[in-house]
Amino acid sequence: MKINRVGVLGSGVMGTQIAGVFANANIPTLLFGYQEHVKKRFRQDSYF
């Protein structure tokens, strides 16, 4: 099946940049984030 539209859940450091990777490839991307009042502090604990 062809992947025409991508959803990314989480608009922190990784989520936003991952959405960017798809956007750079001209792929329509929905980036789902929490709105300000429910947003938790983003903790980036990926390694490298």
């Binding site: 922190g12 989520g15 940049q17 960017g20 956007a23 001209n26 991307t29 929905l30 490298f48």
Partner: protein, 763 residues
């Protein structure tokens, strides 16, 4: 649909990443910011959904529970994680379990080529195949399949290597700067080596990684390495976190790079001291390194030996649990950590059995897996060793790799030379693959242009016109071309060989012998003005040859490299291409037809004045595009050029482009065709702009001098606006100004400065 303002603000963050997350700001229009609270219904339109929230198992599971009612049944579902169990994250997914897998993007995702795919016990093979093809071709990533073990492949081994460095540096009392001097480029690893990398990533994250290793790998024979070092706790406690806090293991003070001293929590000047004997070993043939390092008693040699030994044995010990074959670990280190030589490659170069004997000698505690006794090599022609299969395995046969005409292999694997050589010398290889298309490939350092390249190009075009249907300029690896060989230019200038051959004194001859060894012999050297004419001739014949020419571009395409792509009929360009006419940086102007081509491009516009002003600014400030999209905007590419995500597909698509032109019965443009130039009016406009910059002290006196020459060529010299000129007229102007600039001391100083300091001199 109205976008909520807070979400819009959230998306604006995407423009603030350093290095830039987007190839062009307008790419953001592909992203729609939505709310995880209110907009979940929109998920039903998505074919692939990637969860990328915090690394917290409960939060991830709760989010999946919340979204599953909104998914369409055909969706591919993925979690992006670097440390959690993918099986555990997906355990409550019910009917979506077979459509779920793990994805590990590396940070920063735009620039890191590796994606690790992790299947669960229930993931459909079809899902993984689909993602492998999609990520490879459309996102340009390299895929590795990892098992569901904490740290997966790349971080498990790459981070272990850092942990081992820290362990042995402490044991042998080596400073952080010394460790970096030992574990960087000298070991064929990135310049940022060990601790500069730690600063870039963040010391808080490094601390977290230690804790995670200690927690996750309790039965590991190396478990005692995973205790967080005291200095790391102290630094994080004192909020010294690296780059993001402007103070970490390194700190720049008064222009001096200083290094942290854990003993007294202070900084001293970094000296990157390497012992002479160790330096010698690292310079030598890699195949002797392990033996030499072990027998050298200097703590630095012992450090390197111990770190490499540990990483080898650690990788072998865990291979079966984390990956399929040795190849997975080596590519993970290449793609995830920028190593030029993987750990099993290094081991094999030093001899698998000999090195193992070294490791075991006088050391009872070493943990080695049984399979190590069964193999003489990790890589043979047929493939890489897989302890699971107890045999050597081939690469993935996914159909997407048919587009990778030159699929890279590791050392020791089969690496057949591509195609049949038409001719080859020290600087180029000209070959074909039996399909009627000739490929011109550079072999020089950074694929720079020298006299031999220019002569070869002329010869290649002559042959291609007779015997082939098209010609492609393509390099085996980036960059496309970093520009002209400045050594040749400055040497020629210093030898008094700008316009004449006969000025060489015996003294200068001697100086010549001392110059870089890769310069051509004195007899082969031509005065610079003749070299410029040759370059112009080569690029003109590239453009006006009877056959179509295509440039396959990736990475740097600067100066003469940019002029090369400008003179091809078409271009296939990797997303990450950095293109620019940067001659100004070394006090020169583009004289290989770069100015001429930009003037020609400007002439195609109804109102050429603003276009000329833009091109002038780009050349006058030596601007380089930060992506292919930017190069298109700057006028170096055109709308018909193809931008591709996967660099390994460049040659494939260049051939497709060539076939298209062949089939359309390609005919070159008329070489004598004239075009309009901006003339004195356009030049006056541009120079007014220049005066402002000078008054504002954006540019120096000498910048201004060079800029005036650039403006003169771009506008066609002292002629009325709208005057028709031909290409040769502008090429002559380029040459005259180039030679005049090269004679100036300030230009020669700029070139020398660039060669020695690797950055431009403003004089």
């Amino acid at each position: 649909m109205a976008i909520k303002s807070t979400l819009k603000k959230d998306l604006d963050k995407i423009h603030t990443f350093k290095p830039e997350a987007l190839t062009h700001p307008k790419q953001a229009s592909w992203i729609t910011p939505l709310s995880l609270e209110d907009d979940l219904a929109q998920l039903s339109n998505c074919d692939l959904v990637i969860e990328a929230i915090i690394e917290d198992i409960d939060a991830k599971q709760a989010l999946f529970k919340k979204i599953t009612p909104h998914l369409n049944s055909e969706v591919i579902l993925a979690t992006n994680t670097s440390s959690l169990s993918v099986n555990q994250i997906g355990e409550k997914l019910g009917k979506f379990k077979s459509r779920f897998c793990g994805i590990h993007f590396f940070n920063p995702p735009r620039y890191m080529p590796l994606i690790e795919l992790i299947s669960t016990e229930e993931t459909d093979r079809e899902i993984l195949d689909n993602l492998e093809g999609y990520f490879t071709s459309e996102l340009g990533k390299n895929i590795l399949y990892a098992k569901d073990e904490s740290g997966f492949i790349a971080n498990r081994i790459g981070v272990f290597s850092i942990v081992a460095c820290i362990h042995h540096a402490q044991r042998l009392s080596l400073g952080f700067d010394t460790v970096d001097a030992l574990t960087g480029v000298k070991l064929k690893r990135p310049k940022s080596a060990t601790f500069r990398t730690a600063d870039l990533v963040g010391l808080d994250i490094l601390k977290h990684v230690f804790e995670q290793f200690e927690r996750a790998h309790t039965n590991d024979p190396w478990h005692h390495y995973f205790k967080t070092p005291e200095w790391l706790n102290t630094m994080v406690g004192n909020h010294l976190l690296g780059e993001k806090t402007k103070g970490g293991l390194y700190k720049k003070e008064d222009g001096i790079i200083k290094i942290y001293q854990p003993e007294n929590q202070s900084y001293v000047k970094a000296i990157y001291d390497i012992d002479k004997s160790v330096k010698e070993i690292l310079k030598k043939d890699t195949s002797k390194q392990l033996t030499l390092l072990k027998s050298n008693k200097h703590p630095q040699a012992q450090f390197l030996y111990s770190v490499i030994k540990d990483t080898c044995l650690y990788s072998a010990y865990h291979l079966k649990d984390i990956a399929h074959s040795t190849r997975d670990i080596d590519w993970a280190l290449h793609w995830g950590f920028g190593w030029e030589v993987g750990i099993f490659e290094y081991w094999q170069i030093n001899g698998v059995e000999q090195s193992l004997a070294l490791f075991l000698e006088g050391n009872e505690e070493v943990s080695t897996p049984n399979w190590l006794n069964d193999v003489a090599d990790f890589y043979i022609e047929e493939g890489a060793y897989s302890p699971m299969e107890k045999s050597f395995v081939a690469y993935s046969d996914h159909s997407i790799y048919q587009r990778q005409l030159h699929r890279p292999t590791l050392m020791g694997e089969s690496n057949k030379e591509q195609g049949q050589t038409i001719f080859e010398n020290d600087s180029v290889r000209f070959f074909h693959e039996g399909d009627g298309i000739a490929v011109f490939s550079l072999k020089t350092k950074l694929n720079t242009l020298n006299l031999e390249v220019i002569n070869s190009l002329i010869k290649a075009i002559e042959i291609a016109e007779q015997e082939f249907k098209a010609m492609i300029l393509w390099q085996d690896s980036a960059p496309f071309c970093a520009g002209a060989n400045l050594y040749e230019i400055v040497a020629g200038a210093k030898l008094g060989m700008i316009e004449h051959q006969n000025l060489i004194s015996s003294f200068k001859k001697k100086a010549w012998q001392l110059l870089k060894p890769n310069l051509p012999s004195l007899e082969d050297l031509k005065p610079i003005n003749e070299v410029i004419e040759l370059l112009q001739q080569a690029l003109m014949s590239l453009k006006y040859s009877k056959i179509p020419t295509v440039a396959a571009v990736e990475g740097l395409a600067l100066g003469g490299g940019c002029e090369m792509l400008l003179h091809c009929d078409s271009r296939v360009v990797h997303t990450e291409s950095y293109v620019g006419l940067v001659e100004m940086g070394v006090g020169l102007l583009p004289a290989g037809g770069g100015c001429k081509e930009m003037a020609r491009r400007a002439a195609k516009h109804e109102n050429m004045f603003p276009i000329l002003a833009k091109y002038f600014e780009q050349i006058g400030l030596a601007k380089v595009s930060s992506s292919a999209m930017k190069a298109l905007e700057m006028g170096y590419l055109d709308e018909n050029d193809l931008i591709v995500s996967q660099r390994l597909e460049l040659l494939y698509f260049a051939k497709q482009k060539a076939y298209l032109m062949i089939n359309k019965n390609y005919r070159p443009e008329d070489v004598n065709q004239t075009f309009k130039v901006g003339g004195t009016t356009a030049k006056a406009n541009i120079l007014a702009q220049l005066t402002n910059m000078k008054t504002g002290e954006f540019i120096s006196e000498y910048d201004d001098f060079i800029a005036r020459k650039i403006a003169d060529v771009l506008c066609g010299g002292e002629v009325d606006p709208g005057t028709e000129v031909d290409s040769q007229y502008l090429l002559n102007l380029e040459k005259i100004h180039f030679i005049e600039l090269l004679k100036k001391d300030k230009t020669q100083d700029r070139i020398e400065h660039m060669l020695i300091k690797h950055k431009p001199l403003r004089n």
